[in-house]
């Protein structure tokens, strides 16, 4: 399958429009929900950390530090991706699956279009913008933590910002974005695969979306484990 996706490219003038459409459907359309979730979960992480720091000897700046670490390392890249496996993934599976059951994919093939390239390649390209989504999520997550921490009276603004800048290891950002890119590839290909190779009718499209969500999220979690071990574990 992977080879076919990159083989026998669709004409650029057509492909360009497909890519813009996928960027719109997959990336732009996800920004709202990602921003919403990130902001509030970042806030909750900050409040939870504050509430668990009951020992007066533990400095308050740990709130900012912990929020930053959990948002950047795990929450934004991994958990947003699992949520996107539901949102983008089921969108991809059901749209390709519908094309399969209504013979639209056969129609493409009969015309001489490489349907895998036509359908999947633009999604892979569009998801190269996925790191921007995760970048926004990181920013808003920390911002949410700061606002919740300060306005909830758990910490002062200076302490939080101090903590959020403490012991900053640039490789953590690299690690987070390596994960993000891998997850983007999983998000583009696994749901496409489940849609493309499905059989049956409208009911099966629904089932395929569910199965696709399960597999995509399971592989994200597994890859997260493997990559973390490989990149940070040694």
């Amino acid at each position: 399958m992977l080879k076919e996706i990159f083989n026998k490219q669709t004409k650029w003038s057509v492909m360009r429009n497909l890519i813009f459409k996928e960027i719109d459907d997959l990336i732009i359309d996800s920004l709202g929900i990602v921003a919403f979730i990130s902001f509030f979960v970042g806030g909750v992480v900050s409040i939870q950390t504050a509430l668990n720091l009951t020992n007066p000897l533990i400095p308050k700046y740990l709130i900012g530090f912990a929020t930053r670490q959990s948002v950047i390392l795990e929450f934004a890249p991994t958990f947003i991706s699992v949520i996107m496996a539901g949102k983008m993934g089921s969108f991809i599976t059901s749209s390709i699956g519908t094309m399969r059951v209504t013979e639209q994919i056969d129609a493409l093939e009969v015309m001489g279009v490489n349907s895998l390239n036509y359908l999947v390649f633009p999604k892979i390209i569009a998801l190269l913008f996925y790191p921007f989504v995760i970048g926004i999520s990181m920013f808003l997550g920390v911002l949410g933590g700061w606002i919740a921490g300060v306005y909830g009276g758990f910490t002062s603004s200076a302490e939080f910002i101090n903590g959020a800048q403490m012991q900053f290891i640039p490789f953590h950002i690299v690690y987070a974005f390596i994960k993000t890119i891998i997850f983007a590839l999983l998000l583009a290909t696994i749901p496409s695969f489940h849609g493309y190779y499905m059989k049956g009718g409208a009911l099966e499209v629904g089932k395929a979306s569910t199965v696709s969500f399960v597999w995509t999220s399971v592989s994200i979690i597994l890859f997260n484990y493997i990559l973390t071990q490989l990149l940070l574990g040694s």
Binding site: K8, T10, K11, S13, V14, T98, M99, T102, E103, Q104, D106, A107, E109, V110, M111, G112, V113
Partner: protein, 254 residues
Amino acid sequence: MIEVKNVEKSFGESKILKGVSTVFETGKTNLIIGQSGSGKTVLLKSLLGIHKPEVGTISFDGRIYSELDDDEKRELRTEIGMVFQGSALFDSMTVAENVAFPLRMFTNKSKPEIKERVDFVLERVALKDAHHKLPSEISGGMQKRVAIARAIVNNPKYLFCDEPNSGLDPNTSILIDNLIKEITEEYNITTVINTHDMNSVMEIGEKILFLKNGLKAWEGTKEEIFKTDNEAVVAFVYSSNLFKKVREAHLKGY
């Protein structure tokens, strides 16, 4: 002209096509008829290259499909128009975009040239005012006509239709049948239509292939089909009372 020689196709253990040979002539509406499950769709999809027969050859004006390389196959496919049973219009595109699709994909025509051609074929299938509608906004009969327009827009040499009038009312069916026949003659296309509608057979059956259990059971013209003694054909054609009466009338010489 499409020549089918001794084509066999199995799925797992079950052999669906058991050695079918025939010739589909250029400029004629060639019909494949037969009971549900007799292998019509499998034969049509084998012609299209969607199924690969294990035995036998299919040649398009001398080009044997299984011997072509990938580029030649894609080239041949741009000469093929197909009307699917469920129309298979791209539902994210408007009617005009659907029809323009093969031109945008496979020609270097400019936008005005494409528009002109799309207008022309949409007018040809009597759909002038539907350009900007989505497939979900038009009726089944209109969708079929859009599918025909899309199939013929790039001047195909071969046109395939899988049950082009299933699910349509008798009037619309006849309109669609005749449209296909006219287009076939006008542009000298090799047309193959898959149907179990006897009305279509009477309207446009210039050459009829009768399939039974994966074998060619009979072949002839619509004039011949009402005179044949072949039991399988008689049983299939005259399964309805209406056609029994037609046959009696025929035999009496009307």
